[in-house]
Amino acid sequence: MAHTHGDSEHHIIPLAVYLKVFAALIFLTVITVWVTRFDFGAFNAVVAFFIATVKASLVLGFFMHLKYDNMMNRVIFFSGVFFLILLYFFCYVDEATRIIEKSTL
């Protein structure tokens, strides 16, 4: 029953895939630390955020089985992400349009 194809709820991911995903996550952790040697200026945070998101996608897709899950669970997850972005967007607009004393460091 567990091996029935087309039944996405009971898809079993092979052991080798889990090990490859883990190896990729460790590699990306090394990259996370390694990139701090370089100064991309204002893009430092963007680079760090991008690598973290690649790692998060691997955890979500394979360890949390979202890649093989039904559409409803994906919609639920992305609705959370959407409202988080919405919260960030309005906070950013608020902060960026204020006149405040900026840091000097």
Partner: protein, 230 residues
């Protein structure tokens, strides 16, 4: 092994089938995970907001975190996510003794994470690097330490404790989740020892697994945010 006895799970009468029950449980878990993402999300957005206004306090504050300890804890949590996933894999394969071993390794990784966190916390508390109004660190000592990385620095901004408020709130809330996760995995480990779970029913293992992976997911963002501020 003590797992010789196998218990059969019968789905509740208001579900059409076992798959229907499994899907419903997992959907509920994902809805819960979204509330978790939004709870941590508030802290992340707060961090981004104040980091944009006062970047210097985040740069100075992060010199008091040791990236090597943060990286070690990242590897520990990633490995625990692998063993959690393998715990589900072996349950699906109907191999309960291997699945229980994987769950036990996952709990141990959680414990290692908390021990490393304990050493980090006690070091900061010893220096008086506490959140908000509890901050008692010696201004001169903090300046000397920060000057190693920022030689041009002449004084420590008075709102530096804000960094530590974020540090303790984010890692503290995360740490509470690690401990709750360890407790939940232990509960699954116990139940599996009594013969529950197997290839036809592993809803509990999957649900607790999803919770554990979310903890890993949040740490993936916390590590660069708190330890590698540039």
């Amino acid at each position: 092994m003590s797992t010789a006895k196998t218990r059969t799970h019968h789905h509740a009468h208001h579900y059409e089938s076992a798959t229907h029950e499994y899907d419903t449980s997992k959907q509920g878990m994902w809805l819960f995970l979204v509330t978790e993402i939004l709870m941590f999300g508030g802290l992340f957005v707060g961090y981004a907001y104040f980091h944009h206004i006062f970047p210097e306090i985040f740069k100075i504050g992060s010199t008091f975190t040791d990236w090597r300890l943060g990286a070690a804890n990242t590897v520990v949590l990633l490995f625990s996510s692998l063993t959690m996933a393998l715990g589900i894999y072996y349950t699906q394969m109907n191999d309960r003794s291997k699945a229980r071993l994987m769950l036990l390794i996952t709990i141990l990784c959680g414990a290692v994470f908390m021990v490393i966190k304990y050493f980090e916390y006690s070091h900061k508390i010893h220096l008086g690097l506490m959140p908000g109004s509890w901050y008692t660190a010696d201004a001169q000592a903090v300046l000397e330490h920060a000057k190693e990385k920022f030689p041009g620095l002449t004084e420590i901004p008075s709102n530096l404790p804000l960094y530590f408020s974020f540090y303790y709130m984010m890692t503290g809330l995360h740490g509470i989740h690690v401990m709750i996760g360890m407790g939940l995995i232990f509960w699954i480990w116990l139940r599996m020892g009594r013969g529950w779970y197997g290839k036809d029913h592993y809803t509990g293992v999957e649900g607790v697994g999803l919770f554990w992976h979310l903890i890993d997911l949040i740490w993936i963002y916390l590590f660069p945010l708190l330890y590698l501020v540039t």
